[in-house]
């Protein structure tokens, strides 16, 4: 049924594309005239956040899509920080001015559970042009699904990795860290050295620690390796037996301590840095290590923003040689039974923080609009479009398709050296293919669990208001309160559902 997997945006070939498409329509539909397109006169309002990262590729592909199908794609943008509530308000009040949206898959449950989003399962099943098998299994089967149904199409692959300065580590004779203890050791060893040649001392590690920003993801990236050893389905937020929060135990205490300790080798105001600030610091050559999403890979090769072109290495998140025993709350050394996926005795759990921007369709829209919206997301996600998009620094799209790792040419054309490209893609591939990838929290009100309870406690901990034990008690208490508010049984059922249990 899909007929527009041609990727030609040059004016001359537009005509050809149009003709091919039109012919395909005639052949497929049989009855309709040659000129009429599938979605003539259909307008789809797509909401996402302001800024080029997502809106730019969506806007760029719209004319070609209109050429192919006749559907007009209208991109509406609102500030990033308010996208969640803006969409929710639109759905809840039945305003429905938005036909489709590109948003964080973490919000999926809040939108899908009350039935605001269209179930796309059957469309995906029929869609051959999408090449769903090419999409990394994590995104295909965890990130876009809720209770076994597909509600989203992945447009972007997001998960945490660590980045390091290859030149700095080499000069110090150090290897990229594999555990968080090694991370601290590396940071300590290089802290205070001049890393960008301006004669000033630079920093060992820069990690976002600002409140109401990304701190609640950073902490889980550290804690993941200590908490989850049995694969994605085990989960790291709650015990799937009784919904007991996994935040008051030796594993979480270790993670909290490490998180705070990285601050010893960091800028003095790290507590007020968000990920935008740490990126600026890293790409201007002032940090040896950082924790971030895939964006740094493309930002670091952009001469307008980077002083570290070709000096950056990426690696899967470090892990731990010890794993939490959920029965006792103590840390035990990894065995083949407790950490089946450990390599060299180190258990690593790459954290799919945030989960990557994905497109969803409003269930109340007209059938034709829904079809057009789905087709558009599919079009943007198809390898022909997305494999080029993920190499561009201006888009916020990071790799999520297997074919994006195989084809090195686009990366070399974008300005990466072969070594750097291999290293960067290798780290992404390692993370994505890890069976122990850590899924972000996807239960209802996850914003409350993470963005409010966890984040506030972390912020107070980092500011020295409360100690490790108080922090863990506060989080546990807060999460239990939310569980009780929303019904422990319900939340447990949904939590297990997101993990595929």
């Amino acid at each position: 049924m899909k007929f527009f997997n041609l990727n030609q945006r040059r004016p001359l070939s537009k005509l050809l594309t149009a003709i091919t498409a039109a012919t395909a329509v005639t052949l497929a539909a049989g009855a309709s005239t040659a000129i009429a397109k599938k979605f003539d006169g259909v307008t789809v309002n797509v909401m996402t956040f302001t800024g080029p990262q997502i809106a730019e590729p969506l806007q760029r592909h719209a004319p070609a899509f209109k050429e192919l199908t006749g559907a007009t794609i209208n991109i509406i943008t609102v500030p990033y920080s308010d996208l969640y509530s803006k969409l929710l308000t639109d759905f809840v009040t039945g305003t429905n001015s938005v036909d489709a949206a590109v948003f964080a898959p973490q919000w999926l449950v809040d939108y899908a559970d009350p039935g605001y989003l269209e179930d796309l399962s059957s469309r995906v099943a029929k869609d051959t042009a999408l090449d769903a098998q090419d999409i990394s299994p994590f995104f295909r089967s965890f990130s876009t699904q809720y209770q076994g149904k597909t509600y989203l199409l992945t447009l972007d692959g997001d998960f945490h990795m660590i980045y390091y300065r290859t030149d700095v580590l080499k000069a110090a004779g150090l290897k990229p860290p594999k555990t968080w203890d090694e991370y601290l050791a590396v940071a300590k060893a290089v802290h205070g050295k001049d890393m960008n040649g301006d004669g000033k001392a630079d920093y060992g590690s820069c990690i976002s620690k600002k409140r109401n920003a990304q701190a609640y993801w950073s902490i889980m990236s550290i804690a993941g390796g200590y908490l989850q050893g049995q694969g994605t389905g085990q989960g790291a937020f709650f015990d799937t037996k009784d919904m007991k929060p996994l935040v008051n135990n030796d594993a979480f205490a270790a993670a909290l301590t490490i998180y705070k300790d990285t601050g010893k080798y960091a800028p003095a105001d790290e507590i007020n840095l968000d990920v935008g600030d740490t990126r600026g610091l890293f790409t201007s050559g002032r940090c040896a290590l950082t924790l971030d999403w895939g964006d740094i890979g493309t930002l670091a090769i952009d001469p307008a923003s980077s002083k570290v072109v070709d000096k950056v290495g990426a690696s899967m998140l470090p892990g731990s040689t010890k794993i939490l025993d959920r029965a006792t709350g103590k840390l035990e050394t990894c065995t083949t039974k407790t950490c089946p996926y450990a390599v060299d005795g180190i258990n690593r759990a790459p954290y799919a923080a945030f989960g990557g921007w994905s497109g969803g369709v409003n269930a109340t829209a007209d059938e034709q609009v829904k079809n057009a919206a789905y087709d558009y997301f599919s079009y943007v996600s198809q390898p022909a479009q997305s494999n080029a998009d993920v190499t561009k620094g201006i888009t916020g799209f990071n790799p999520y398709r297997l074919s994006q790792f195989n084809d090195m040419d686009k990366w070399l054309a974008a300005g990466m050296s072969k070594g750097a490209a291999q290293n960067y893609l290798g780290a992404i591939k390692d993370s994505l293919s890890s069976p122990n990838m850590l899924l972000d929290l996807r239960i209802p009100k996850n914003q409350n669990y993470q963005g409010v309870v966890l984040d506030t406690a972390i912020a107070r901990f980092l500011a020295g208001e409360i100690n490790v034990n108080q922090t863990m008690e506060t989080i546990e208490e807060g999460w239990n309160e939310l569980n009780e508010d929303l019904g422990v049984e319900d939340q447990l059922r949904l939590y297990k559902a997101t993990l595929g249990q």
């Binding site: 309002n45 302001t50 609102v78 990033y80 600030d277 600026g280 930002l299 307008a304 980077s306």
Partner: protein, 350 residues
């Protein structure tokens, strides 16, 4: 011998005459004023320079002076005005339309009320007010909780209120005064907008007016009315009552007195109030965020939106902040002229 330096010291602090300042006071005054000028202008200067910087020049900074310690680039200006083009101009025009219309309305309606509250005594009955609030609460309850049609509940509520007032108003003795009304008006500004934005959103959604200029104009007018009333009241109070009394004796109506005597005489106050309200509605963020989606989006949303997943885009943000000040500055200059003219004509008439 030792008298001389002391007298110099004294001289420094002694003014020559009553009109002028002593030399030392003068130096002190000017240095304070200049120091404050620096405090005021430096952040603006920094925004201005930042708008010409490349990302790397910001994160590797500080760089202070274009051409001397860094090579300025127009990339941010190009992005905002050429790449985004219409997406920048539309909110810009929206902001101008919304801010100016709501300001004019708020100032005019607010001035009427302010005049009335300075010169006429009101005695609203406590009973009627309590009755009104109870009935309105009932309407909200029926609409939100029982989920009745809002048109229906509103008309029932209105009917109930009217009959209530007619039936019982003569039994109410206790009444409030002008000061109570005034305080009631200003207290409407205390509520943080976060709390009132959802009900307002639902109201406009029911009326089908979301994402229109109208919704924003009406809302801004409403939230700024209290300030208009309060400020104008002070200015009206200074106008001598005798002027009004003589005009009334000549047979002028209240409306005419208000329009031909009070408004012109209060021009400086009018200008200051207009300026303040214009600024407040020009810069409002939260209500605009919810009441507009695409067509009616305003500039503050554009500024806030420059902080997305990649962190604040300082260069784009600086461009937007700088261009956002321009219309207000022009308006300020224009209104400032009106102030001096107003004083002149006021003097001629007075």
């Amino acid at each position: 011998m030792s008298v001389k330096p002391k007298s110099l010291w004294q001289k420094m602090w002694e003014p020559k005459d009553l009109q002028s300042m002593a030399p030392a006071t003068k130096v002190l005054s000017y240095s304070i004023l200049l120091f404050w000028t620096f405090i005021v202008l430096f952040p603006l200067y920094w925004l201005f320079v930042t708008s010409f910087k490349l990302p790397i020049q910001v994160s590797d900074g500080p760089y202070y002076i274009p051409f001397i310690d860094f090579e300025p680039s127009l990339h941010a200006w190009e992005y905002i005005f050429i790449d985004l083009g219409r997406d920048t101009l539309r909110p810009y025009m929206n902001s101008i339309i919304i801010a100016s219309s709501s300001t004019v309305l708020a100032v005019f309606i607010g001035s009427m009320a302010a005049y009335a509250l300075t010169r006429i005594e009101y005695k609203p009955k406590v009973g009627s007010i309590v009755g009104f609030i109870v009935i309105l609460g009932l309407v909200v309850y029926l609409t939100v909780v029982v989920k009745m049609q809002w048109q229906l509940t509103l008309s029932i509520g209105f009917a109930l209120f009217v009959s209530f007032v007619f039936a019982f108003s003569r039994y109410f003795k206790r009444s409030l005064g002008n000061n109570d009304i005034l305080f009631w008006i200003i207290s409407q500004r205390i509520m943080p907008p976060v709390v009132s934005v959802l009900p307002i959103y639902i109201m406009f959604q029911q009326l089908g007016l979301l994402d229109t200029h109208f919704a924003l104009i009406v809302t801004y007018m409403a939230v700024n009315l209290p300030i208009a009333v309060w400020l104008m009241r002070d200015f009206f109070a200074r106008i001598p009552v005798e002027l009004e009394e003589s005009a009334m004796l000549d047979g002028a109506s209240r409306m005419r007195v208000f329009l031909t005597i009070y408004m012109p005489l209060a021009k400086p106050g009018l200008a200051a109030t207009t300026m303040l309200i214009l600024i407040l509605s020009w810069n409002e963020y939260l209500l605009a965020l919810f009441l507009s989606t695409a067509d009616a989006q305003t500039m503050p949303l554009m500024v806030a939106a420059q902080n997305a997943t990649r962190g604040p885009q300082w260069w784009y943000m600086s461009v937007l902040i700088v261009v956002m000040i321009v219309p207000v500055l022009i308006a300020a200059g224009f209104i400032g002229k009106m102030i001096s003219k107003g004083q002149l004509s006021g003097a001629v008439k007075g």
